[in-house]
């Protein structure tokens, strides 16, 4: 019975936090436009909708997400550093699991259905590490701004976008999320599609085949030959032909010849190493549907 009484006391203590007396009207006098912690731009967003019953402002307004705020309001009025129950961000003392659960209560849809077990969830990344709620437009929805968010944790990818051959991210024609769904753990590398090749085919559909004459590695995984984020070699290749091809092809004759720097002027050898090298003739490296295309010449 003693245990029961103690637990009842603790249990009632868990509910001690009170909601504010005036809802958002308790918050906005401090968090108005121009303040360092302004939340005024939320009224430009769906979160502030008063007509969508699922929106935070159709429920308990700011406190739907931030939790009971009475202590915070009173604390601020007395110049005490009492924070809201839930503060969002990677460095917040609110557990990230708690933060993310609040977001996922409404947003566990589409790729986010597979959030649990995804790399970002396992790595304990907070939704608010990438997303901004108190702005008119979350910057991850702008292709130029989104990549800056990703580069914060993936700086090597920033370097990739500046390489001689890269997808057009740096000019905003593409964004990371064209290929990756950062929430979707169901797909490898958090890709938008189930596999690497299916993701590539969404833009490079012409490569999907099936061809009469397939090139086995191309059919299996584009990234066996290509570095999708950026490369020093044309077409995002991992290395230059003929070496790229010679690491898998070695029949006697021109495929296994050592092409050295001293042969660039040799009128026979240079056809295999200059220009497009192997692709000077074997241009159908992704596969061919020509009845005579067995050697990927046609």
């Amino acid at each position: 019975m003693i245990i029961l009484i103690l637990l009842l006391i603790i249990s009632s203590g868990l509910q001690a936090q009170d909601y504010s007396e005036q809802g958002a009207d308790s918050c906005m006098p401090c968090h108005y436009e121009g303040q360092p912690k302004s939340a005024a731009a939320i009224f430009f967003t769906k979160h502030a909708s008063s007509t969508d019953p699922r929106a935070p402002f159709s429920q308990l307004q700011c406190e739907t997400c931030h939790g009971p705020g009475q202590d915070h309001v009173f604390g601020q009025q007395r110049s005490l550093d009492v924070l809201p129950v839930n503060i969002f961000g990677q460095q917040s003392k609110t557990p990230i699991e708690t933060q993310n659960r609040i977001c996922l209560n409404c947003h566990e849809t589409k790729g986010r259905l597979a959030w649990f077990g995804s790399r970002h969830q396992v790595e304990n990344v907070a939704c608010a590490s990438c997303h901004q709620v108190h702005v008119a437009r979350d910057r991850v929805f702008d292709s130029l701004e989104q990549q800056k968010v990703c580069f914060d944790c993936h700086p090597k990818r920033r370097s990739d976008t500046l390489k001689a051959s890269s997808h057009p991210l740096r000019l905003g024609n593409m964004s990371c999320s064209d290929c990756h769904d950062p929430h979707n753990g169901a797909n490898e590398f958090l890709l938008q599609e189930l596999t690497v090749n299916e993701t590539c085919y969404t833009c490079h559909t012409e490569k999907q085949g099936p061809y009469l004459w397939e090139h086995a590695p191309a059919a299996e995984n584009c990234s066996l030959c290509h570095r999708p984020h950026g490369s020093n070699h044309p077409a995002l290749l991992k290395k230059r032909p003929p070496l790229l091809c010679q690491q898998c092809h070695s029949p006697e004759g021109h495929p296994s010849t050592a092409y050295t720097s001293e042969q660039t002027g040799n009128s026979f050898s240079n056809r295999f190493m200059l220009g497009r090298a192997c692709l000077n003739c074997h241009s159908q490296v992704h596969g061919s549907n020509h009845p005579s295309g067995a050697t990927l010449h046609r």
């Binding site: 958002a24 559909t205 690491q247 050295t260």
Partner: protein, 689 residues
């Protein structure tokens, strides 16, 4: 009994957390400053480019020197009934224009519309005597002089015309989502893509002669994605469908052979990418059996089909009587995927993650015997096509242990197994183990160290009848070879003061193919990165970064099986750095300055035992400086000045200095490495409404 009752009460208290009852009838939201009606911002004004370069224009759309019009802006509508409309536009005056529109009723329905154009240019310095105009036939000028080598093509220089090799991608997207009564949500998106222009294409007659020419590109792709979702407190489920149809206007391209024909090869022909159809059904579910366990699963099945009518074995009339085994491929490939994951919090400190994934590419394309005419000249023995299939299964487990002292331990293992058909190795199995320690001292510092090692074992390597010549028996293709891979990662994030923070990372990856004699032998990657951020004052900050990367790899080969081997080493080095300033200088003046520099060096050395020097360095140096000043003259009007300078220097020994006839056996398009220095100014009036 008492304990049971207490636990029940606690559980009830926990359950009630999300069911709070608060009297919010007095919450009037008087301070909620909702925008009403139309509002937005429009940026419009002239721009000027001081030079033209197709490489600079790549994706950017500024193709010409001189004046252009820059139009950007967004427009919105919102009302008390929850109706909304958003329009975002970028670079409407350029060939890289983008427009995105969405609207609807909050929480009920949304429609989406988007249009994008993406220009791509590959023709840096390219010229050609060939011409193509809206057909699948590429022709030479009537007065062309045929020769056995490019040196003898006396009409070449006079017949060269510039060829920009431009491909423009146009994307049109439309979508709809709506929330039905109850917990159901439906959405559908349709995307139409057109890709038009010309690309470089190369083919010839064996190794004797080849030519590069502009080939037509006229693709269209239609894709549909639909999803129906059901959500309740403990489970969520989504049924999805994706389908796409790829159409190529041209089944083939034929061209005149610019060389003195060998045999009856005055005209040559190649097949282009065949049209194909794809569809996929998928089901994803998420279930929470208890507060500490989450299960997610996903399953999908799909099919890709391709049945474009074959062209003849050859355009060479000598082979007109060769009969095909069928009129088309009747290609069909079934895909199936299955995935499941469990995340469980075993205690307040210990978490467990388990996952499995299975992918199957079942190529059901019929196998037939074909009699290829190689390069329109030589009849080859009957050869079967090889529709490759593979199955891949992956299993992984991870433990995560969080201590009270902000030290976290993670460890895991993963097994990936491939089963392939018709290839040199039937089965490969990668086993990976990893461990990680991270220390998080709240906002002051975060440290993470991770190490990983993996081994790949393979079933016996065997020679298969690849189309083409027999491989060296010692060849081990790298993705089918035994491999040891070691990786390490070090990351340190520091908040050095309230205003200064730094992030340092280092990663290394080493692949070793110790059992290979011919093929890829080793591959190393190193990367170091330092990011710095400094807050000068509120709303004004500085940032800087530097990244160094090295990629090294070595392959070994031999000209024939009893010959002494040769090796080739490839080294790619990247140095990227930059800095920027952004924020408010005054209440009316915003500033943004960005500078970045990226240098790439590629060194290749092939060593056949004669101590040959390396090839000349492949180099690319990119410098970009951008300044943007925004001046807010009034609540409605403002002015923006943008200046961007970009300098690009590159050299590539594979193409530089060759011109069109630098390779005697190949008539090329004569590409050169792009070099440019372009400055662009934009002066934009901003109108806010």
């Amino acid at each position: 009994m008492a304990t049971f009752l207490a636990l029940l009460l606690c559980t009830q208290a926990h359950a009630d957390e999300s069911q709070v009852s608060v009297d919010s009838s007095g919450w009037l939201c008087n301070f909620c400053n909702y925008p009403q009606g139309w509002f937005g911002i429009l940026d419009i004004g002239p721009g000027y480019a001081n030079d033209a370069s197709l490489k600079f224009a790549d994706y950017r759309g500024i193709t010409e020197k001189g004046v252009f019009i820059s139009i950007n802006g967004d427009m919105h509508y919102l009302d008390k009934a929850g109706r909304y409309f958003d329009l975002y536009t970028r670079d409407l005056g350029l060939d890289s224009r983008q427009l995105e529109l969405r609207g609807g009723l909050h929480g009920r329905i949304e429609f989406r519309l988007a249009y994008r154009e993406i220009p791509k240019y590959r023709g840096y310095g390219t010229q050609t005597p060939f011409s193509v105009s809206g057909t699948d036939r590429v022709v030479l000028p009537p007065d062309w002089v045929y020769a056995r080598t490019t040196a003898g093509m006396s009409a070449l220089e006079a017949s060269l015309l510039p060829e920009t090799l431009e491909i423009k991608r146009k994307l049109f997207e439309v979508g709809l989502s709506f929330r039905m009564t109850g917990n159901w949500r439906y959405e559908a998106d349709f995307k139409h893509t057109e890709k038009n222009g010309t690309r470089a294409f190369g083919a010839g007659v064996f190794t004797i002669q080849s030519s590069h020419f502009p080939a037509p590109v006229d693709f269209s792709i239609n894709r549909v994605d639909m999803g129906l979702e059901y959500t309740n407190k403990h489970s969520r489920i989504r049924f999805g469908f994706s389908g796409s149809s790829f159409n190529n206007r041209y089944a083939s391209v034929s061209w005149e052979n610019p060389f003195t024909p060998v045999g009856n090869t005055a005209n040559l022909r190649a097949a282009l990418e065949p049209g194909s159809d794809f569809y996929q059904f998928n089901l994803t579910g998420s279930f929470r059996p208890s507060a500490k366990v989450r299960l997610t699963a996903q399953a999908s099945i799909g099919r890709i089909t391709q049945d474009v009518e074959y062209i003849a074995y050859s355009i060479n009339p000598d082979f007109d009587d060769l009969e095909l085994p069928s009129a088309s491929l009747n290609g069909s490939m079934d895909t199936s995927n299955l995935g499941a994951r469990m995340t469980a919090r075993l205690s307040s400190k210990l978490s467990l993650f388990l996952s499995m994934k299975y992918d199957d590419r079942d190529n059901r394309t019929p196998i037939d015997f074909y009699t290829p005419v190689i390069t329109d000249l030589v009849l080859r023995e009957q050869t079967p096509n090889r529709p490759y299939s593979f199955k891949r299964s992956q299993y992984s487990a991870q433990f995560s242990y969080r201590t009270y002292t902000s030290v976290n331990f993670n460890a895991g293992a993963k097994q990936k197994r491939y089963k392939r058909t018709l290839q040199s190795v039937r089965e490969t199995e990668d086993s990976t183990w990893w461990g990680e320690v991270s220390v998080d001292s709240w906002s002051a510092a975060q440290l993470r160290v991770r190490i990983e090692t993996s081994d790949r074992d393979i079933s016996p390597y065997r020679q298969v009848g690849d189309p083409g010549l027999r491989e060296n028996v010692l060849m081990r293709k790298f993705h089918l070879a035994n491999r040891n891979r070691d990786r390490a990662l070090f990351e340190l994030d520091l908040s050095l003061s309230n205003r200064l923070n730094a992030a340092l990372s280092y990663s290394v990856s080493r692949d070793r193919y110790a059992k290979s004699i011919i093929g890829l032998m080793e591959s190393d990657e190193h990367s170091v990165n330092l990011d710095l951020g400094f807050s000068i004052k509120t709303n004004l900050s500085l940032h800087a970064f530097v990244t160094l990367e090295d990629y090294d790899s070595e392959i070994a080969s031999a000209e024939y099986e009893s010959a002494a081997g040769w090796t080739a080493n490839t080294k790619d080095r990247f140095t990227t750095w930059g800095f920027g300033l952004s924020g408010k200088l005054t209440d009316k003046l915003d500033i943004s300055i960005d500078y970045y520099s990226s240098d790439s060096r590629g060194r290749i050395r092939t060593d056949s035992g004669a101590d040959e020097p390396p090839f000349p360095d492949l180099s690319t140096d990119l410098r970009n400086a951008t300044i943007r000043l925004n001046y807010k003259a009034s609540k409605q009007w403002g002015l923006s000045l943008l200046a961007e300078h970009e300098n690009y220097d590159s050299s590539d020994w594979q193409i530089d200095g060759l011109g069109n006839d630098g390779i005697s056996a190949i008539l090329t398009l004569g590409p050169t490495s792009p070099n440019y220095s372009v400055t662009v100014f934009r002066l934009l009036a901003n109108y806010t409404f």
